[in-house]
Amino acid sequence: MIKEYVGFSEITGSLVAVEGTENAKAEELVTLKTNSGETRTGRIVQILGNTAIIQVFEGAKGLSLDNTKTVLSGKAMEIALSKEILGRIFDGAGRPKDGLPPIVSETKRDINGSSLNPVSREYPKNYICTGISAIDALSTLIRGQKLPVFSGSGMKHNELAVQIVNQSNVGTNEDFAVVFCAMGVKNDVADYFKESFKKSGVMDHVTMFINLSSDPIVERTITPRIALTAAEYLAFTKNMHVLVVMTDMTSYCEALREFSSSKGEIPGRKGYPGYLYSDLASLYERAGIIKGVKGSVTQIPILTMPNDDITHPIPDLTGYITEGQIVLDRSLDGLGIYPPIGVLPSLSRLMKDGIGEGYTRADHSPLMQQLFASYAKVKEVKSLASVIGEDELSATDKKYLVFGKEFENRFIAQGITENRDIITTLNLGWEMLKLLPRTELSRLDEELLKQYYDEPQK
């Protein structure tokens, strides 16, 4: 017999306390029925003897101490899955949002997942060609990687995400899918993504989970878990290569903070809960490849840095977990350069094993090193020029300024639909280096210089 518990002993924020529960389990899913016939769902977050503290996903607005009945489900929150989820749009709690009926489920999965045994992981090595020079050449995306985009309000991270999704599916015969997870995004942004996917004809292998900025914050804390569970299912059960785009992680973290403070927890830095790192890790670490399984989960989380501050806890902790980052630069954006990728702070940790002979081209790694070093020098020269004036610069330094400008305008910048293959990108890199005197290229050895620097480009 299903037991109903009537009323609460306390309501704070989105948390309610139910007394007299039997066998309540930590993390168990519960259903709340109000007198008016409305149903809400929640999750047990804490147990104290026979009192269960429940987090209500829809928020506690409208609930009173005695107008609600609570039913325990006996299991953790699960999501129904089958291959039918492709092409569908769901809300932040996994309910259909596109007017179509719920899917016929093949299996049900616990949305919290389990941690992947490090022994079972396969080290990611296959690079994904995104067709964007600044990414492909300098912070290469690898299949199974988690590579976040650090952006700021008003910068073109959404366009970049769409371009990556549109362009990175080409060149593979294997099954490819995109799981799009929106947390606290504006209506317009959600529509932009929907329209873009439809227009480029990729919608039939996209699954969208959308929690809008006006939706309840507690629901937002489970949206990425649902999306990642779906991604894991597609990747590890259905052998697909799944790209998960998660935006905006900042909204997610703020939801977590709001929830944590309503629970009365001791805050860490900037009021975020002390477990923010572990919580983010439980999402990001769900990217990867399992030995002996064909599929993979690659993550591109997008976050807006509050006040463009990269030391803010959200980008900071994210950077410690993810395998690199792509940082968008406000000043490049101001110059109208798209994509405004700040090359120097951007980094892909996994690229060293996924580039070079057999993957891209043998000169990739030294070329990348040299471009970084030379572009770093440009920054130095620029700051010197701002003090003493460009005219006073030495002849070499002036060449660096020219190089810097060309690099930003021709190498970093590219059209929103321009899809450059890796060879074009690398050759363009060499073309840039030719703007500098040969003696300045200390990271390249003689052989490479002869092969690419001295040879006239065809």
Binding site: A26, Y123, T311
Partner: protein, 594 residues
């Protein structure tokens, strides 16, 4: 009545009104027998931290005490293996539970079926005391494990097995203990203590030693900026702080690969899963240059990645150092890499928060400094109970929030470690690796090690080291001016400093981990390289002294050549250095005469 769960809050479980447990006791929680540890006991509430995911637990489930503190198994089977934070074998877990880690399930840390080839060194009638070696096992191609008598056993041997093949649970020795010398030990029957190949040790208790030794021998790493400028002793402690992307993990990997310790304990504490996979893959493939065997056959890995339960992350550091001490006691030099201690401190903070303790700085508990001190003090070079010399060196990565070194974990770590290798974001942005900032880093071991370097490498080693540091320091102060007015207006002697320092930065401080020769550089070559850069400086000085323009010297090509010599001269043929010196001298003379 048995004790039952009252409250559950994340990884912390409360029990009401019980006196069954002691602080630090290992317990089994709930029907699935999850492993936990008692962290505080009071008349009303007893608190337990659970080392596994607590989802699905409910109030009223049973908690069973084990009457022993949380401990690890020590014995053959450790090397080359990979464990989680409480020494559960991850490979076994994969076999039983699949790719995703499931909860509960009891595992034995060491393989109980494998037959080890044991050479027994003791005979019946002989006496034995704690720490003494009574048998040896050739565990891997490069490591012989020495089986030691548990420290609390002392007495006369009544039985000794023949040398032969045994599992870790077979009886190898029986000892009749002296009166009052032994406590009740598991496995004792009729006043006899049975010794097998394995023993247990509580992870939070340092293993005893005879006495400490001065730390006057370097841990040679083959990394120029470390060995030559900021050396670490065997038995020393070093901290590597750096923001994300500065190369902490990369530096740790380089040290784990190339340092001249006998055994490496690599603890991945709250870091990425893919990194541990990388260590596993790479270390199986790479060959140790000294033993010519795979690096994995001298390595133990402990992996508690960031998505694995937080309480086990806290324990993983102690598990690591306990294993390190165990190998030290056999007379080995052990290096332990902890990546990253900040994650461990955050685990402390997380659990402290759940216990509603009064927070100190940035929410960290007030006992953070004392816990850090306890941990780092377990390093050292010692005489072991059996009279051998062994050492544990600890290299801890620190991940400061926002790359701000003033945060509590970095600051407190600085107090308890004596070498400090500060990683610099700006250097990393320029792809200057290892991104160790030479202005901020220091090593208190330098003076202790001066004798060793001067005696074993070259008597001028430390003199050269100081000169290199001086040039870099001078460059640093000159750069302030250059930033304002440009390098062109500087007088020749200062231009010389800038040019030489640039060559040192590119050619000496930067080291290419992916280059076959440059990834590890012997001390002798490091010394000869320093000699080249100092010659470059000395010859330039002569030109300046003669009041001749130095510009032709700069453009003669010797500076660029010196900066690239690391790729030109391999690690065996050092006679090529003479050509470099001759060329530099010639370029200087040409400038003087022309």
């Amino acid at each position: 009545m048995n004790s039952c769960i009252y409250g559950i809050n994340g990884p912390v479980v409360t029990v009401k009104n019980t006196k069954d447990f002691f602080v630090g006791e290992m317990v089994f929680v709930g029907k699935e027998r999850l492993i936990g540890e008692v962290i505080s006991v009071a008349t009303e509430d007893t608190l337990i931290q659970v080392y596994e995911e607590t989802a699905g637990l409910s109030a009223g489930e049973e908690i069973v005490g084990t009457k022993s503190p949380i401990s690890v198994d020590l014995g053959p089977g450790l090397i080359g293996n990979i464990f989680d934070g409480i020494e559960r074998p991850l490979k076994e877990m994969e076999k039983k539970g699949g790719a995703f880690i499931s909860r509960g399930g009891e595992y034995t840390s060491l393989n109980e079926e494998k037959q080890w080839e044991v050479t027994v060194l003791k005979k019946p009638g002989e006496r034995i005391k704690g720490g003494e070696i009574f048998a040896t096992v050739k565990e891997t191609e490069s490591i012989t494990q020495k089986i030691m008598c548990p420290v609390n056993v002392c007495g006369e041997i009544t039985f000794a097995a023949e040398s032969g093949n045994y599992t870790v649970n077979d009886t190898v020795l029986k000892v009749k203990p002296d009166k009052n010398k032994t406590n009740a030990i598991a496995g004792s029957e009729e006043n006899e203590v049975i010794l097998t190949l394995k023993q247990r040790w509580p992870i939070r208790k340092p293993r005893p030693i005879k006495n400490r030794l001065p730390v006057t021998v370097p841990l040679i790493t083959g990394q120029r900026v470390i060995d030559s400028l900021f050396p670490l002793s065997k038995g020393g402690t070093a901290a590597i702080p750096g923001g994300f992307g500065t190369g902490k993990t990369m530096t740790q990997h380089q040290l784990a690969k190339w340092c001249d310790a006998d055994i490496i304990i690599y603890v991945g504490c709250g870091e990425r899963g893919n990194e541990m996979t990388q260590v596993l893959d790479e270390f199986s493939a790479l060959i140790d240059p000294r033993t010519k065997k795979p690096l994995l056959s001298r390595t133990v890995l402990i992996a508690n990645t960031s998505n694995m339960p937080v309480a086990a992350r806290e324990a993983s550091i102690y598990t690591g150092i306990t294993l390190a001490e165990y190998f030290r006691d056999m007379g080995y030099h052990v290096a332990m890499m902890a990546d990253s201690t900040s994650r461990w401190a955050e685990a402390l903070r997380e659990i402290s928060g759940r216990l509603e303790e009064m927070p100190a700085e940035e929410g960290f508990p007030a006992y953070l400094p004392s816990r850090l001190a306890e941990f780092y003090e377990r390093a050292g070079r010692v005489t072991t109970l059996n009279g051998n010399e062994g050492s544990v060196s600890v290299i801890g990565a620190v991940s400061p929030q926002g790359a701000d070194f003033s945060e509590p974990v970095t600051q407190n770590t600085k107090r308890f470690t004596r070498a400090f290798w500060a990683l610099d974001k700006n250097l990393a942005y320029e792809r200057h690796y290892p991104a160790i900032n030479w202005m901020e880093s220091y090593s208190e071991y330098a003076d202790d090690l001066a004798d060793y370097f001067n005696k074993n490498v070259d008597e001028k080693f430390f003199d050269f080291r100081q000169q290199i540091i001086n040039i870099l320091r001078e460059e640093n102060s000159l750069m302030e001016i250059v930033k304002l007015i440009g390098a062109d207006v500087l007088p020749d002697d200062q231009k010389l400093v800038i040019e030489v320092a640039k060559a040192i930065r590119l050619g000496f401080l930067q080291q290419n981990a992916f280059h076959k020769d440059d990834t590890y550089v012997p001390l002798k070559k490091q010394f000869l390289m320093m000699n080249v850069f100092l010659t470059l400086y000395k010859e330039g000085k002569k030109i300046v002294a003669a009041s001749k323009p130095v510009a032709p010297y700069f453009t003669s090509g010797v500076f660029e050549k010196a900066a690239k010599l690391k790729y030109d001269i391999d690690n065996e043929h050092f006679d090529k250095f003479d050509d470099y010196l001759a060329e530099i001298k010639k370029a200087a003379e040409d400038t003087l005469n022309g």
